[in-house]
């Protein structure tokens, strides 16, 4: 399932979010509408990367606690609030891997596997699928994160750029290189 895009927001919506953020800095109870709006997206981002659903709920909750604690540091720099939340989610996720509270997981379905083989310009069969799974285990974390965001979650380059804190073009280049490296490992 691809995640709904939160990046093509209207100015009115961004302004309304900023008003909520300013109110929440004074009173955290005002943060509720943003929590309700982004909870599902953040949860889906996390659950795809951990094997335990309950752990994913805990990590999601921690993301919002951390966001609320650091809200006074948040400044609008032209990127949506969700981008800031995703960065916190990424850091919380890796913290839970380090604490061994969660196991690094890659969630993949049949359609995605077929899409990857289309990118490789190859036909898909059981043997090749198993080789691809081995390659996904071998590639480095940064490359895997980019492949997950682009090919498994179908995010736009703009979204990827905002999640990993690079420009849209840079995200495109990095994703292309990550796919090339996956291809190289797969063909070894």
């Amino acid at each position: 399932m691809s995640s709904p895009s939160l990046y093509h927001q209207s100015d009115t919506r961004i302004q309304s979010e900023l008003r909520i953020i300013e109110k929440s800095k004074k009173n955290p109870n005002h943060f509720a509408p943003l929590y309700e709006q982004y909870h599902e997206n953040i949860f889906r981002y996390i659950v795809k990367r951990v094997d335990d659903v309950e752990a994913a709920y805990d990590i999601t909750s921690n993301v919002f606690v951390k966001a609320l604690t650091n809200l006074h540091k948040y400044e609008f720099r032209g990127v949506p609030f969700s981008s800031w939340l995703f960065r916190i989610a990424k850091s919380e996720l890796y913290q839970s891997f380090r604490d061994k509270k969660a196991r690094r997981t890659v969630s993949i379905d049949k359609v995605i596997v077929a899409d990857i083989f289309e990118e490789f310009e190859e036909s898909c069969n059981e043997e090749r699928k198993s080789e691809l799974m081995q390659a996904l285990r071998k590639i480095n974390e940064k490359d895997l994160a980019l492949i997950e965001l682009r090919y498994f979650e179908k995010r736009s380059y703009r979204e990827i750029g905002e999640i990993i804190s690079v420009t849209e073009n840079n995200a495109k280049v990095k994703t292309f290189r990550a796919l090339q490296r996956l291809k190289k490992v797969y063909h070894k």
Binding site: A32, L68, F97, R104, S107, I108, R137, N140, E141
Partner: protein
């Protein structure tokens, strides 16, 4: 895997740099990677039911910035004046 063993051997030695330590963590993470096929994710309804903003508020601890409080500088200033006066007597 050979590289991982090699890095583990040198983990406690002085020659082991931060960069190598990161590589070790990355290698461990890769070894632990699990691939799940056609996984059943919770539905939107189920996720919405698990929303608990009260728990977030309960866990939230506001960060107190002492240095942003005028009383902080006031008391430090007063303490330094008093200590300099005491020393001069």
């Amino acid at each position: 895997m050979q590289k991982l063993k090699h890095l583990e051997l040198y983990k406690d030695s002085k020659k082991f740099t931060i960069n190598e330590n990161n590589n070790l963590n990355s290698l461990k993470l890769r070894r632990m990677r699990k691939i799940l096929h056609n996984r059943n994710e919770p539905s939107a309804h189920e996720i919405r039911n698990r929303q608990d903003f009260d728990l977030v508020i309960k866990k939230y601890k506001p960060s107190i910035n002492y240095w942003k409080n005028p009383w902080f500088y006031g008391s430090i200033g007063l303490a330094s004046i008093l200590s300099s006066l005491l020393l001069s007597i």
